[in-house]
Symmetry: C2
Subunit: 154 residues, 2 copies
DNA sequence: AAAATAAATTTGATTATCAAAGTGAAATAT
DNA sequence: ATATTTCACTTTGATAATCAAATTTATTTT
């Protein structure tokens, strides 16, 4: 994938040039859905991304303004990755990516609470998702998670 | 991109493994937004896809059940590509891809009618978009286009 | 002081992508 | 009827991305 080009000004092409690869959206998913924040946590993803590709994708997403990197205050080896405003704005997109995969895949594997959440109004779920992340939680985890607010996974 | 793998059952990963590349969503865009149907029309896209990559992506999307290929009845050289039900179901995803690109890109280039449409209720626009394609039109073109139904581009 | 942990980087092989040229069948023009 | 054009690809050879595995450097824990 010859990245960094500017093949056209089409907004769809813009998004695809930033996120159209195998790993970028999975990293964003790990942040938005599971609250992952460190290199080591991303390395442990279900899909087994390698460290060289991970480092490359994180640098790419940082340069494109999707996420930011700050040193941990408690452990100076660690870097903390967090989403920018543009990264948070990916919630509706990620919701539709997950939704299409859920209805199209012959055997989608996700927590039951995801499939339960899909039965609710999508605008509501997407708003709760943003509020969860802004409060330091994520879709599935934390006291302000979508799962907690909707009373799923009880 | 080592395609055809099954790295996990995650619905997001499922979608990304099918559509996570530079060209697949642009082909779907050309079909849904502009009503393109033939190899030659896709070749003329703004982003200048080459014939070898186009042939590969079309075969990929056909094998994944996003589109179908039938010989033209009027010209036996031509193949007509059309979207399947799964392909039509990409409308909400493509809408969000375009929406994120529109608010994130520093200089998005699209017809004014797209930006006008974004001001309307997204569920309405997505429903009109599907109806347009089902009626043989597309987002921008044809008597049943979204643009026509919303009275944009007058 | 030694061992473990964290965030990457390096290496060398495999795979995808690219632009440019070429192919064969069917339609159109002469 | 013949020549030319159109159309949907395929082939080719170079460039670029991706991969798993091993290594490096700095920090933290034992």
């Amino acid at each position: 994938m010859k990245r960094e080009e500017n093949k056209s000004g089409c907004p769809i092409n813009y998004t695809v040039e930033i996120l159209g690869d195998t790993w970028s959206l999975l990293i964003v998913r790990d942040m938005l859905a599971l609250g992952k924040k460190t290199f080591g946590e991303f390395l442990e993803s279900e899909e087994r991304i390698g460290p060289s590709v991970l480092a490359d994708r994180l640098a790419h997403l940082e340069r494109k303004g999707i996420l930011a990197k700050t040193p941990s205050e408690t452990d100076r080896r660690k870097m903390i990755y967090s989403l920018t405003e543009s990264g948070l704005n990916l919630i509706p997109l990620l919701y539709e990516v997950s939704s299409w995969g859920s209805i199209t895949s012959p055997n989608p594997a996700a927590p039951d609470s995801w499939f339960e959440a899909m039965k609710h109004d999508k605008v509501l779920v997407q708003r709760l998702w943003r509020e969860a992340v802004e409060a330091g939680s994520s879709f599935f985890l934390g006291p302000d998670s979508v799962v907690a607010k909707l009373g799923l996974d009880v």
